[in-house]
């Protein structure tokens, strides 16, 4: 899994993921998330355009991040979900909990 991190002047963290998010790659992503939460990152946007596959451990990684960010009122938006990835969120009924945006523009407007 490739994880690209950047931060803009407004303090919004962009995370672009590339590859499959499964039991193999989730721990790596979790490590990055833990760092962001430790730094009290208040706005996180995750670009899932290049993620074709996600399983329950991938979802669990996002659930954990979401719960931790809630404690300090951080905002998390996921965007550019492929149909397959979106359907996994839907099966877990997580589409109603997470803010899922169609594209970066929409994600930015939701977070500011």
């Amino acid at each position: 899994m490739k994880i690209e991190l950047k931060r803009d002047e407004q303090g919004v963290h962009f995370i672009a993921l590339q590859g499959d998010l499964d039991f193999h790659s989730s721990p790596e992503l979790r490590t990055e998330f833990v760092k962001l939460v430790d730094g009290q990152a208040s706005k996180i946007l995750v670009d899932l355009k290049k993620v074709a596959y996600i399983d329950s451990s991938g979802l669990a990684t996002f659930v954990e991040l979401f719960q931790k960010m809630k404690r300090y009122s951080g905002k998390l938006i996921l965007f550019n979900l492929s149909q397959g990835v979106r359907s996994v969120f839907e099966i877990a009924k997580l589409d109603s909990i997470f803010r899922l945006a169609n594209n970066e523009k929409e994600a930015l407007s939701l977070i500011s």
Binding site: D20, F23, D55, S56, A60, Q67, Q83, S87
Partner: protein, 365 residues
Amino acid sequence: MGKNFGQSDERVKKFLGEVGQGEEAMVEMMLTLVQALEERDEYTRGHSERVATLSVAIGRELGFDAKRLETLRRGALLHDIGKIGIRDELLYKPGSFTPEERARMNQHPEKGHFIVLNSHLLWDLIPMIRNHHENYDGSGYPDGLESEKIPLEARIVSLADYFDALATARPYKEPFSKERAVEFVVSMSGKKFDPNVVKAFLKIADKFYAEHIQNLRPPTEMPSTASLDEQVFEIESEPKHLGPLRERLQHFLERTGLPAKTQEEIQVALGEACTNSIRHSYLNQPGRKIQVTAQNQEDKAVFKIRDYGKKIDLEKLQKPELPPTKPGGLGIYFMKTIMDEVEYNTGHTEGNELILVKYKKGKPS
């Protein structure tokens, strides 16, 4: 065929009739090679010639001139020559390969390349021999070539080879009907096959089938054990093997004819089952075996996930809240939601076996 010299003579005449005089050496060498392969692999008998016939018919539709058609025909005849270098127990194994066996089997295009490299008379045929298992989307082997980078002749032979394999009987499967075989080829257009080659194929498919395949049909039903399209995938109990397993399963899933969305979801369910084995049965201990037996049946796809670790009581695994507020328990929920049936085979004294079923036209009531 070609069991005695008389018959070979007939074949020489047949070939010479088409290529003209002066190329005897070339034709004899080709026949020797074709026959060597046919002596090795009974199933290849007739297959190479049908692939050649179909390839030429497609090439003609695509406007090939006589010289190019002849090269295409020869390459198609010899496309599987590398199978000479495949061990008996692999070559004759019905249906299911382990990953290691599959990898060895997949070396036959390169082995073929090496064989014909010995004669410059055969060099024109190399693209068809080396690249007839490339896929249009780049997912094939041995070079992973994509679209126009795959020599056109190889794209043609690839389709002809696959169609003939589908439409005729194999030790492990009944022949597909013409409609089903054609439908499969069409469904793979742009993925496995070049759309233009598919288009040309569709124009001549009926004629080819009527003339070369129809009469091959066995008069009686084949025994039911032979009707199974089954593949066994084996991985070791480490998370890093999950991704490569998905890639291999994808080729199988495409054969089931299930919608793409369902295929994606089944990948998730199977991933969860294997993750379960890695985490709960083998307790993250690497190097243990997990086998996924995949069956493409007429009305359903069946997957058996087998491990040899600690017994798991599925009912005792954490039940998730929905939507989940903490990690854990989602895996079994995914399996149950995605698949039509999830059964635990209690018949094994060691390890676990999960049986996951997806019906092709909805679960029967």
